[in-house]
């Protein structure tokens, strides 16, 4: 695996060719536009440092790929420029625990 060496000041990192998500290296407001992997991407919402967004359309059930590695599966259709997180993708292994309502651990604690 080849790790990136240095950022280019665009605030955006596509970690490996073929990834369907990119990572923000600076806080990016909604409406930010960038050319990524040959497409014009417009951010649908704000993306914080280290968080990720789709760089092409991803269908429900498709793997999310970061640094060339699958990191989970889309739980619904995702548009290019859309923020990608627990609301639209999930693990292939063990569900993610957050402090949001609806999670099993939160329910059990009530």
């Amino acid at each position: 695996m080849a790790y990136f060496q240095k950022t280019d000041g665009s605030g955006v990192l596509l970690l490996a060719p073929g990834d369907n998500i990119a990572v923000a290296t600076a806080e990016l407001p909604a409406g930010t536009e960038r050319d990524i992997a040959g497409s014009r991407i417009v951010l649908a919402s704000r993306v914080e440092v280290g968080h990720k967004f789709a760089v092409r359309a991803i269908a429900k059930g498709e793997r999310i790929v970061k640094y060339g590695a699958p990191i989970g599966v889309a739980s619904r259709d995702i548009e290019p420029g859309e923020y990608v997180h627990t609301h639209n993708m999930g693990s292939d292994y063990i569900p993610t625990y957050t402090l949001e309502d609806g999670h099993r651990f939160v329910e059990e604690a009530k």
Binding site: Y3, Q5, V49, G50, K52, R104
Partner: protein
């Protein structure tokens, strides 16, 4: 190279402290009181809380009592607990270290035991000033790595930079240990490709499968709500970042907590108990794994954080590498390295990797890390059980 402390058993350490170990929670307060006045003079507190004997916890304390960074050992027992205190005392004495056992019930209670323990610490501190020194080469150094309070920047900056430092160390013949098998879930096939032999590759895959099974039974991955707040969505994504700490070297073997690497190279420490799932979460916090890395002989531990962990450890210094530039701004006093510069384009991955490597040499030479300076000595041992490793786990021994 490194001006180290030479132990009677021939091993070399980079610190020269007294370890005070309580052998059950009931002896914790007395042990802490013994340490307190000397806490900035290298007198450190460790211990095991449980009353029931357990071979893993015994092995970890044995390895720490004979760790090359430790000059002398004081064991503090209540008296009626299950820990094999005689066996541990004998191991420490056989290593040639000054070692003593105080038993609270025999000594006559709290006050008398604190006084007896402190008298011994006073006298032993003076004795340790005459510890012989010896030159230590890089191939004698053992370094562990850990990440804690991770966010999505950890895997982009600090972890791969620590991986670069690991690559430099392995090239020089040092032994480097990565672990957190629960945070390698999803990376097992990538990792197997880096194994020294195909058989070791299969063992690496099995190790991660065991971790996935263990955490699935717990109903919870090695994943905290703060990880999600920091942009990590799944355990696989966290694993992708955690895996970067291992660098790019060939993987030479697998260790279990307390096993020392037999020679230089890169090792995976498998910290998930063997057999039935019966011990609860295998890493209830970061320090459990840090203690296990140190029990494998780590002279120091690299620790990356994105959200901002402040922990250090007893026995071995912890070098804190901050992944997130915003966290560094808020918590610079706790951080040894600002790896978030990579994200801002102010440094390259290789530059920060080299900076970490240089700092390792200085810390091995005696420079205090931030967590050492702040007095952090977090420590914990859990109940676990392990089966011995098969020959496929250490091909270089063949």
């Amino acid at each position: 190279m490194i001006n180290a402390y030479l132990r009677p058993d021939g091993r070399k350490g980079i610190r020269n402290g007294i370890l005070v170990a309580y052998l059950v929670e009931c002896a914790h307060h007395v042990a802490r009181e013994i340490v307190y006045p000397y806490r900035s003079q290298g007198v450190q507190l460790v211990g095991f809380s449980g009353c029931y004997p357990n071979s893993h916890s015994h092995k970890v304390l044995q390895r720490l009592a004979t760790h090359p960074n430790v000059g002398a050992v004081l064991l503090v027992s209540l008296g009626c607990e299950g820990f094999n205190k005689g066996g541990l005392l004998e191991t420490a004495r056989e290593s040639g270290r000054p070692a003593k056992l105080v038993v609270i019930q025999d000594t006559g209670g709290t006050r008398k035991t604190i006084a007896e323990g402190q008298a011994w610490v006073e006298q032993t501190l003076a004795q340790l000033e005459h510890t012989p020194r010896a030159t230590m080469q890089l191939h004698e150094l053992v370094v562990g790595t850990k990440c804690g309070g991770s966010d999505a920047t950890s895997g982009l900056t600090a972890n791969p930079a620590m991986g670069r430092a690991f690559d430099f160390l392995v090239e020089q013949g040092a032994a480097c240990i990565f672990e957190e098998t629960g945070e390698l879930i999803g990376m097992e096939h990538w990792m197997a490709q880096r194994a020294a032999t195909a058989e070791l590759g299969q063992e690496l895959i099995k190790t991660v499968a065991k971790a996935a099974r263990y955490y699935a039974a717990m109903g919870h991955a090695s994943f905290a709500p703060g990880n999600a707040d920091g942009g990590l969505t799944t355990i696989e994504e966290k694993s992708l970042g955690a895996y970067a700490k291992s660098g790019q070297s060939t993987i030479s073997g697998i260790l279990k907590p307390g096993d020392a690497p037999i020679k230089g190279g890169l090792y995976l420490m498998d910290m998930i108990p063997d057999g039935d799932v019966r011990w609860g979460f295998p890493n209830i916090n970061d320090n459990v794994e840090v203690a296990e890395l140190i029990a494998c002989g780590s002279h120091l531990v690299l620790f990356s954080t994105g959200r901002g962990s402040v922990v250090g450890s007893a026995v071995s210094p912890v070098i804190k590498v901050c992944a997130n530039p915003k966290t560094y701004e808020r918590m610079a006093d706790d951080m040894d390295v600002d790896a978030g510069r990579i994200l801002e384009g102010r440094a390259s991955l290789d530059e920060v990797g080299r900076e970490i490597y240089d700092l390792i040499l200085r810390v091995a030479g005696g420079e205090q890390t931030r967590s050492e300076g702040l007095g952090h000595q977090e420590f914990q041992i859990l109940y676990k059980s392990f089966e011995p490793l098969g020959p496929a786990c250490f091909p270089s021994a063949a």
